[in-house]
C-alpha cells in the first residue's frame, strides 16, 4: 500500500493583518458566518477541534479578548489552558522565551499571545512549533480585533467594499487602529484617521488612509470608530493633550456629531463621557455588543482556519492526471 506524500505545510500564524491577503480575510469571514449559524442551535459545541490544544498566554490584563478566545476554543471542543503573567513563573522573572519553550513542551497546536511589547508574538513564533495568534502586542497589532470589526461592519452595512470608516482618537498608541486600517484596505474599504496632532503618528498615511485633525471629517464616513482614550497618556510630563475635558470637547463622539445613517463602533472597554457620549453608546447606532458577539465567531473561524482549513495541503495534492510521488 503506497502512501501519498504530502509535504508538511508551512506553519501558519496570525501575527499581523499584513500576513493576510484579501482571499484569506474573505475565507475567515465566510467561515465565521457559517459558525454563527451553528451558535443558534441548542447545543452550541462543535466537535471540530477535539483533541487539539489551545494555550492562551496573556501578559496584559484583558477581560473580553481572553474570554472571547477561551470560549471560541471551547465551542470548537479544543482543550484550553490560560496563563496570565501574574501568579505564574513570569512573576519570578522567567523570560518570554523560556515560558514559550515550557509551554511548547506540551505540544500545543495554537498559542494565543497578548504582550505589552511589540515583537513578542514573533518571538514566540520563532521559538515554538505552534501556530501563533497575536491577541495584541503593544502598540503594534491586534489582528483578530480588526477581523471582528470587519465582520460586524458587514453584518450592519451589508457590504465592505467602498465602506468609509472614520477612526477617531488616540491613533498613536492604538494597535486596534493600525490593524483596522490595514484590514479595511485589504477588503476595498478605507479609513480616515481623526485626532489631535499629538496623537496622530507621523507617517501613518503611508498605510493608505486619510488623516485629519478636524472632527468634522467624520461626517462623510459610514462608520465612526471611537478609540479608547487611555488615562495613562495624561501622566504629568507625558501628556499628549492638555486635559481630557478639552479632548472630549474637541473629539468626543456626541449625538450631535453622529449623522443619521452612520453606525458607531468601539473596541472596548469604553470610557463613557470621554471618547464616547453615553447617549451614543446606549443608542441603536452603537455596534459595541455586536462587535463582542462577532469576536467569538471570528476567533472560532481563525482557529478553524489555522488548524482545519489548511489550504496548503489541498494545493499540494497533485491533480489526478499528474504522476504521484510515492514513498
Amino acid at each position: 500500500m503506497s502512501e501519498l506524500r504530502v509535504p508538511e505545510p508551512p506553519r501558519r500564524h496570525l501575527l499581523a493583518i499584513g500576513d493576510l491577503e484579501r482571499v484569506d480575510v474573505e475565507r475567515i469571514l465566510e467561515t465565521a458566518r457559517a459558525l454563527a449559524a451553528s451558535l443558534d442551535r441548542e447545543v452550541k459545541k462543535l466537535p471540530t477541534l477535539r483533541g487539539r490544544t489551545v494555550v492562551h498566554l496573556f501578559y496584559e490584563s484583558s477581560t473580553r479578548t481572553l474570554a472571547s478566545f477561551e470560549l471560541a476554543a471551547k465551542r470548537l471542543s479544543a482543550d484550553t489552558m490560560s496563563l496570565r503573567s501574574s501568579g505564574s513563573s513570569v512573576d519570578k522573572g522567567e523570560s518570554l522565551k523560556d515560558t514559550a519553550l515550557t509551554l511548547a513542551a506540551y505540544d500545543p497546536d495554537v498559542i494565543v499571545v497578548r504582550h505589552p511589547s511589540i515583537g513578542a508574538p514573533q518571538l514566540v513564533a520563532r521559538v515554538t512549533g505552534a501556530h501563533v495568534v497575536n491577541a495584541g502586542d503593544g502598540k503594534h497589532q491586534h489582528p483578530t480585533q480588526a477581523l471582528l470589526d470587519l465582520y460586524a461592519m458587514q453584518e450592519a452595512l451589508g457590504r465592505l467594499e467602498g465602506v468609509h470608516v472614520a477612526v477617531v482618537g488616540d491613533v498613536l498608541h492604538s494597535r486596534v487602529a493600525r490593524s483596522l486600517v490595514e484590514a479595511l484596505r485589504l477588503v476595498g474599504a478605507h479609513a480616515t484617521l481623526v485626532g489631535p496632532p499629538t496623537l496622530l503618528p507621523r507617517g501613518i498615511e503611508t498605510l493608505g488612509c486619510e488623516v485629519s485633525t478636524d472632527i468634522a471629517a467624520i461626517a462623510h464616513a459610514d462608520v465612526v470608530y471611537a478609540l479608547r482614550m487611555q488615562a495613562e497618556r495624561m501622566a504629568p510630563g507625558e501628556a499628549f493633550v492638555p486635559s481630557l475635558r478639552e479632548y472630549t470637547a474637541l473629539y468626543g463622539i456626541t449625538p450631535e456629531r453622529v449623522r443619521p445613517g452612520q453606525v458607531v463602533m468601539h473596541p472596548g472597554p469604553m470610557n463613557r463621557g470621554v471618547e464616547i457620549d453615553p447617549r451614543v453608546a446606549d443608542s441603536d447606532v452603537a455596534l459595541v455588543t455586536d462587535q463582542v458577539r462577532a469576536g467569538l465567531v471570528v476567533r472560532m473561524a481563525v482557529l478553524y482556519d489555522l488548524l482545519v482549513a489548511q489550504p496548503t495541503i489541498r494545493d499540494a495534492v497533485p491533480a489526478p492526471n499528474e504522476p504521484m510521488e510515492v514513498a
Binding site: S117, I118, G119, G203, T206
Partner: protein, 423 residues
C-alpha cells in the same frame, strides 16, 4: 595613549595590489617588514590580494569592566584584529564608568596583558556619565585617556558641555559627542517615519539628533575648540555638520556601517539585531550619509561595536537593548553592499576606515612608507563567506549580518609590527 600586550615584532613580506590612498599608492608591490618596521617597498605581483594600511576604529564597546560575559579586552581586540584593525578606541560606559584615574589605570594594566592590538581607552566627560560634574580631565589625560566622551548618553546640559569644551583645553584631548536630545528621543525605538507609524514603535525623530548637533557645533564655534560627532544617522545632522565646517568650526564626524547600508525598512522584521541607537533611518538619510562620506564631510567609519548577551537580545523587539556588533564584518559588509554595487570607491572606503579616524583622534596614521611601523591589512576581495554565530571571535553575536553571505575577507592583519591575525 595606546596599549597592547607585549610581544616581539615580526619580520615578513607582503605582496599584492597595494592601495594606500593617503600615500597616493595603488600598484602591485612587495612590502618587506623587518622587526616590525617597513624596510623595503619594491615592485611585486598582485597575487589576487589587496594590501592596505590597517583599520582604525574610534568607537568600540569592550564591555570591560562589568560585562565580561559580553566582551573582554582579549575577545574584543582579537575580534578587531580579525576585522583588519590595528587600533581601536574603547568607550567608557562600563560598570563602573571610566571616570577616574584608578578605573582607567586598572584597564590599562589589564590591556597590557590582554589586548591583541593597540587599544586606547576613552574617559567620561562627566562623573558617572550623569551629566552633572566634569571628570578630573587633566588627571585622566595623565593616566592615559585617549579622548573624552559620555557615549551612550548625551551631555544634556548645554552649560556643562560648554565647561567641558573650556576645561578640556587643559587635557589636550579630543571630545567625542553622542548627540541626542532625550526629551525628543524618549520612548523611541525606531526612526520617526512610515515604518515606526505602521509598526506602532515609539518614534525617535531625526531632530532628536540634529538639534544636539546644532547645539554642539554652536558651542564649539563659541569656544573655538574641536569636537568629534559620533555615529551620525540623519540628513539634518549632516547638513548641520557641513554648515559648521564651512564656518570654519573644527568638527569631525563618523558614521557606522549599518547606517550606511540599512534603512528603517529593515526594522519591519522586528529582529532585535537591527535595533540600535541612533536608529536606522530613511533612504534619504542613508544616501546623505554616504554622500557626506564620499565627499569627505564625514571622514571616519566607526563600527559602534556594541556586544550584547544572547539572552538580552532574545526578547521582543521593544524590550531589546540598543546595539549591534561590527568589528569582524565592517570591511566585508561595506565592500559587498557599497563598493561592489558602485556606491563607494574602494580607495574611499579604505581611507575612511584608516587615516580618517586616526587623524580625527590625533593618532599616528597607518601608512605604507619605508621606516613606518607596519600597520597593514591583507584583503582577499574575491573570497566569499557566510556570517554565522559560531564564526565570531567576539563573545557576542548580535550582528545584523547573521546568515548573510559577504564578498571579501580579511586574511591577515599586522598591527604595530606584529602579525595579530592570520586567516
Amino acid at each position: 595613549m595606546l596599549v597592547s600586550r607585549n610581544g616581539r615584532a615580526d619580520s615578513l613580506s607582503l605582496e599584492g595590489r597595494v592601495v594606500a590612498p593617503a600615500q597616493g599608492i595603488d600598484e602591485a608591490l612587495r612590502i618587506t617588514v623587518t622587526d616590525g618596521v617597513i624596510s623595503a617597498i619594491e615592485p611585486g605581483a598582485a597575487a589576487g590580494l589587496v594590501v592596505s594600511p590597517a583599520f582604525v576604529d574610534p568607537h568600540v564597546h569592550l564591555r570591560t569592566p562589568g560585562r565580561e560575559d559580553e566582551e573582554t579586552l582579549r575577545s574584543g581586540t582579537e575580534a578587531a584584529a580579525a576585522g583588519g584593525y590595528c587600533t581601536i578606541l574603547a568607550m567608557p560606559n562600563t560598570d563602573p564608568v571610566v571616570d577616574s584615574a584608578s578605573v582607567l589605570g586598572a584597564l590599562v594594566e589589564r590591556a597590557r596583558e590582554e589586548a591583541a592590538i593597540p587599544t586606547g581607552f576613552m574617559a567620561a566627560i562627566s562623573k558617572g556619565q550623569r551629566g552633572e560634574e566634569l571628570t578630573e580631565m587633566v588627571e585622566l589625560a595623565g593616566a592615559g585617556a585617549a579622548a573624552f566622551t559620555d557615549d551612550g548618553k548625551p551631555v544634556v546640559s548645554a552649560g556643562l558641555m560648554r565647561r567641558a569644551l573650556q576645561y578640556g583645553t587643559l587635557a589636550r584631548l579630543p571630545l567625542a559627542l553622542h548627540c541626542e536630545e532625550p526629551s525628543l528621543s524618549r520612548g523611541g525605538h525606531a526612526h520617526e517615519g512610515a515604518v515606526s507609524a505602521e509598526l506602532g514603535l515609539g518614534p525617535y525623530p531625526s531632530a532628536a539628533e540634529s538639534v544636539m548637533v546644532e547645539r554642539d557645533c554652536a558651542l564649539a564655534e563659541l569656544e573655538r575648540r574641536p569636537i568629534h560627532l559620533m555615529h551620525l544617522s540623519a540628513r539634518e545632522s549632516v547638513e548641520a555638520l557641513e554648515r559648521a565646517r564651512e564656518a570654519g568650526v573644527p568638527v569631525t564626524a563618523e558614521v557606522t556601517p549599518h547606517h550606511l547600508v540599512l534603512t528603517d525598512e529593515a526594522v519591519r522584521s522586528l529582529d532585535p539585531n537591527v535595533k540600535m541607537n541612533p536608529p536606522l533611518r530613511s533612504e534619504e538619510d542613508r544616501s546623505a550619509l554616504l554622500d557626506a562620506l564620499r565627499r569627505g564631510a564625514i571622514t571616519c567609519i566607526a563600527t559602534d561595536h556594541a556586544p550584547h548577551a544572547r539572552h538580552e537580545k532574545d526578547v521582543p523587539f521593544e524590550d531589546a537593548p540598543f546595539g549591534v556588533t561590527g568589528l569582524e564584518t565592517a570591511f566585508s559588509a561595506l565592500y559587498t553592499r557599497l563598493v561592489l554595487p558602485g556606491e563607494l570607491p574602494l580607495e574611499t572606503l579604505l581611507e575612511r576606515m584608516s587615516s580618517g579616524p586616526a587623524r580625527a583622534f590625533g593618532l599616528d596614521e597607518p601608512r605604507v612608507e619605508v621606516g613606518a611601523r607596519a600597520n597593514l591589512v591583507v584583503l582577499d576581495l574575491d573570497a566569499e563567506w557566510e556570517v554565522t554565530e559560531s564564526g565570531f571571535r567576539s563573545l557576542s553575536a548580535n550582528s545584523w549580518l547573521l546568515g548573510e553571505t559577504l564578498r571579501s575577507r580579511v586574511v591577515r592583519t599586522v598591527a604595530d609590527g606584529r602579525v595579530v591575525f592570520q586567516a
